[in-house]
Symmetry: C2
Subunit: 643 residues, 2 copies
């Protein structure tokens, strides 16, 4: 079949594509990077392209306005090539590099009574080996084993072929005085030889990394394995975002052609880039990193390992593996020491992964005396209820709305994002706080929670989330998707267009918050415990650290318990991975948590759906669950003012 010529401006690229090719495919083939947060499902509306001329047929026009359609806009993932065409690709939202500082990761301290000597599985041992002679012609490897047995009481040890290939040369070059590095996961158990070098190696650093692979953000810490000190931290967007903003979109993408391979490469690029960053900051080199503890949700770990995640998305929602075996950096593609042990922490189920088992450890829930709630707020919300006695977990797909996707003016928490909003109850005029100052570009998650709470408390939104069209106010106007609230007028924004919140946006946000609240309540109900009896609400996730508790309760995202019960912990997943990296007992505890955590599948019956439906209101259909909000609504507004 002859191809058609597709020209792209302003990039000036040209490609050939036969009839029936998806325009997004043609864009990719032309080497142009098109953002597709929903993974090419026509859901997010981000991959717009303008057909200047030629034959392109649009299959779906969802999320495009009539004006857009008239101007020739199509969604690239929903448009099909039928002839030669000239296409204009608007500048893509930049996937800004976003380095979270230490505060987003949260502080972490060494476990009490921590002794690297007994806790760390990585050991460095100096060996004096008797040189061979005609009286003792023992081979090099047996000679090394003998010295190790006598000098360090280590019996069973293995080495890979690459190390055996270098063994003879190193032993002779170093005059039979060597330093070896080995990994011994179980005390007095089998050990694996990681490296061998001349005596000078003794002065070289011995590093490990903890990696948390979030759906949105990847975090890497560089740790001195001999002291447990965190030497550097860095975070960055997971480069997979451009191929789908949530887990489901990624799984769909992974199932297409070479999608799984591409996603694996993207997350590896992200991690390897972060490893370079932390190594540069600590003035060391990646080859000095000999151990990695990796946390992340089950899908992220499947994608990292190149294991097809398809079954995670399909009923009965079963992953291929919850507890990956120990692997080496070379097998996985991590650019650290090739023989470095890579320990992917164990998960519990498809939607309760290593991030939760590690988080449960670092949050302290695992040894809480009283029943506590632990929630990891992210694109996927995971909730654990329990104490040192028992643990039950569930997961609810909140979607990426709190991370700015699926919302017209939503964006990530970077420069230009409105992160907090106050609305005057007298003038109904808003005041915004913008990250980095300056003109705003959109709203991030905490800004959206804040805005909805303000609109609701000021009567601009009703309980069902509908804009109160009875109120006459210039900021209330009819838009493409019905009534909407204009938060910032076009002249005060970066892009010269109004920043608004429309009905579709509110709907997506209500679904997100309802999913999380329903998770809380079904989990509590399943053990017959009222939510308010939880003694602590431990909130994990770097996003969760910026949520204003009051407003989160006002919209019904968090249960209405005393504010002092909330503890914002930051990235509990990376903190747990850190503990696993430095302490073999902590690593064992995470395995124990995975083994004893009961997983409650929310899709199994109607209970969750009913709880979700009830929570689709502001703050909830059952106002008795939110007494503090009921009180606020009953009396005259006493809201704080913007400073």
């Amino acid at each position: 079949m002859a191809g058609h010529t597709i020209r792209f401006s302003p990039q000036g690229r040209v490609t050939e594509a036969p009839t029936g090719t998806l325009l997004s495919e043609a864009v990719a083939r032309a080497g142009i990077d098109l953002v597709q947060p929903c993974g090419g499902q026509g859901r997010c509306g981000r991959c717009v392209a303008q057909v200047c001329s030629g034959e392109i047929r649009a299959r779906s026009t969802l999320r495009l306005s009539e004006a857009d359609l008239e101007a020739g806009y199509v969604l690239a993932c929903q448009a099909v090539v039928e002839g030669d065409a000239e296409i204009s690709i608007p500048p893509q939202e930049e996937l800004t590099r976003h380095l979270t500082s230490d505060r987003t990761a949260g502080a972490v301290s060494l476990p009490q009574g921590y002794d690297p000597q007994s806790s760390q599985t990585i050991r460095r041992i100096h060996l004096d080996i008797a040189p061979p002679s005609t009286d003792d012609q023992t081979d090099d490897w047996s000679r090394l084993l003998g010295a190790l047995r006598r000098q360090a009481s280590i019996g069973n040890i293995s080495a890979d072929l690459n190390l055996l290939r270098r063994l003879g040369v190193i032993l002779r070059a170093s005059g039979w005085r060597v330093v070896i590095v080995l990994d011994q996961p179980v005390q007095n158990g089998n050990a694996r030889l990681l490296d061998i070098g001349p005596p000078e190696t003794d002065e070289m650093p011995l590093y490990g990394i903890t990696v948390d692979i979030g759906t949105t953000t990847v975090t890497v810490w560089l740790v001195d394995l001999l002291t447990g000190d965190v030497k550097a931290q860095a975070s960055e967007y997971n480069q997979q975002i451009r191929r789908g903003e949530d887990i489901i979109a990624r799984i769909i993408y992974a199932s297409k052609n070479d999608g799984g391979h591409e996603l694996r490469q993207l997350v590896l690029q992200t991690i390897n880039g972060l490893v370079d960053t932390v190594c540069q900051r600590a003035r060391t080199r990646p080859e000095h990193v000999v151990k990695a503890a990796v946390s992340g949700n089950t899908t992220m770990l499947h994608l990292l390992l190149g294991i097809p995640p398809a079954s995670i998305r399909l009923t009965p929602f079963v992953p291929v593996v919850n507890q990956p075996p120990p692997l080496t950096a070379a097998e996985i593609g991590l650019e650290i020491h090739p023989r470095a042990t890579v320990d992917c922490l164990p998960g519990v189920a498809s939607y309760v992964g290593a991030d939760i088992t590690a988080g449960t450890l670092s949050s302290g829930l695992e040894h809480a005396e009283t029943t506590s709630l632990f929630i990891d707020v992210g694109t996927n919300g995971e909730i654990v209820l329990g104490s040192r006695e028992w643990l039950i977990a569930c997961a609810c797909s909140a979607g990426p709305a709190f991370e700015g996707a699926g919302v017209r003016d939503g964006m990530r928490a970077t420069k230009g994002a409105i992160e907090e909003v106050w609305i005057s109850s007298e003038t109904l005029e808003p005041t915004c706080r913008v990250i980095g100052g300056g003109k705003p570009r959109g709203l991030c998650g905490s800004g959206l929670i804040s805005l909805i709470a303000e609109l609701f408390l000021n009567g601009l939104l009703d309980k069902a989330g509908n804009v109160n069209v009875g109120i006459e106010h210039p900021r209330l106007q009819m838009g493409e998707h019905g009534a909407e609230y204009v938060l910032v007028w076009a002249e005060d924004t970066v892009h010269g267009e109004n920043i608004v919140l429309n009905h579709v946006d509110v709907d997506n946000l209500l679904r997100a918050k309802a999913a999380i609240y329903a998770g809380f309540s079904v989990l509590a109900e399943s053990v017959g415990m009222p939510l308010e009896e939880a003694q602590q609400v431990l909130v994990g996730g770097s996003f969760g650290q910026y949520i204003n508790v009051e407003k989160a309760i006002e919209i019904g995202l968090f249960p209405d318990v005393a504010w002092e019960k909330f503890k914002f912990l930051g990235n509990t997943s990376v903190q747990g991975a850190y503990l696993a990296l430095i302490d073999r007992k902590a690593r064992q505890k995470i395995a124990d948590i995975a083994a004893r955590m009961t997983y409650l599948e929310l899709s199994a019956d109607n209970t969750f759906y009913e709880a979700f439906t009830s929570a689709l209101f502001l703050p909830h259909t059952d106002m008795s669950r939110f007494p503090s909000v009921a009180q606020k609504l009953a009396r005259p507004q006493e809201k704080e003012r913007a400073p």
Copy 2:
């Protein structure tokens, strides 16, 4: 530095080489394959090239006659480029593909009471796995482990990442009824998952291979792992020969630049080619081969694994590893099932390798009731003395003379080789038996032994190996290297030149036989036992199978014991590897043999050197050691005649 232009005829190749380049390097760069049996040491004289014109400086002219030098011949490995040149490369001796039939490998039978079920480490198990449901969301891998525990009582099992990547798809595609293949080296011990497939896999063959890597010949057997049946056998020259004909030459070559890498590729090509051959003969495919047992001398196994063998050659002669760990085919580069277990059998020392431990098992020496001698005749001669009670071994570098190298008209035992010679005591005229019939091209090892014995018994050679110039006979003439015996006149040979045996040849052969006999006698002396007390002389090695015992005793290669004590066993190394492949108990026995075999280093003191010097005569300085030969020399010749 500007390069000189070097033209090669008749190949018509051209290359550029700067001043100082070895001519052999330039030949290789031009893509011409030059045979270098001695590894480029100027020792074998095979890499002759004729300088037609131009500036080539010869560093050494050893092994070139004055006529050769006048004609412009140089040794390519000893000649240096100093300007443009035109070089003629004579046709190389063809490394003929030589398929030994079953008789060279020797017959082998299943061990008594052999039960594949309990002896074989490879198991194929049919598993019915309960499909997941919302009531049981156990991950795929745990589900497989559970079924394996319940249905086959196998607990600890590991799988590599590539298999985990395919696991989910296979389980679902096969409706949770699968066949798995695993390797469990120790009964009830840890198992490694090799493969998983649909129920049909049950009917697929399950093969193993035994590989014997000789310095000269590589042998591969294809074995049905479920029955122990040998399905096909094939042998071929080790392609490494072109880079050195003995162990020392190979080690030297391996130490140069990328020599080790090249030698590894050459032996892999040889083995992989043989695997193809045996698979074609058995109408199967290499991917059905899931296990390999590999035998060979220590240097050959180092080269296969890519481990630098340099220390084997240097005092105190210590290898890097005698017992390589279990590896996979993919790690090594064997083109069979990528996850196939490759078990390199254990050796004892640098010159007593897996070929001897495996051979000791298959020769029966390991459970001999009475003291026996076991000798593996090869480029390196290895000798074991002992019984079920004790084992002592030594190695003596015989050199490749018996394999036709280092001898003017020597060649391998292929078509055109004289394999037996008879000399008339009356006419002193010879009769020859030629492999494949027709005109001869040269002499192979057994022909050389035969010829020397005949010359000696007929008084044409004296005890010291000197040609008796006192005898007037047309076949005794003066050659380049002194007096020589013309075995075949030019008109009766393939190449139209005389086939002769000269003084240098005799010297090399005497050194070879003296080394082996000295090995015998020093070993026997070391335990205070006269050689004649050995109850059996077990002779291994495919070369050893064709030796005429009588003539071998006459020249003093073998001790003078009753002929019926000799047992010619063929390739004991591959036979032992076969037993290790099919029987975990046999494999353990080889490890036990390696552990209990004492290695006697012959270079440690003067004893060997003295024994060697005494054996440098025909048959020996001490004739009392060879009473049967003394008797023959004393009475009139009663030799058999050619039929």
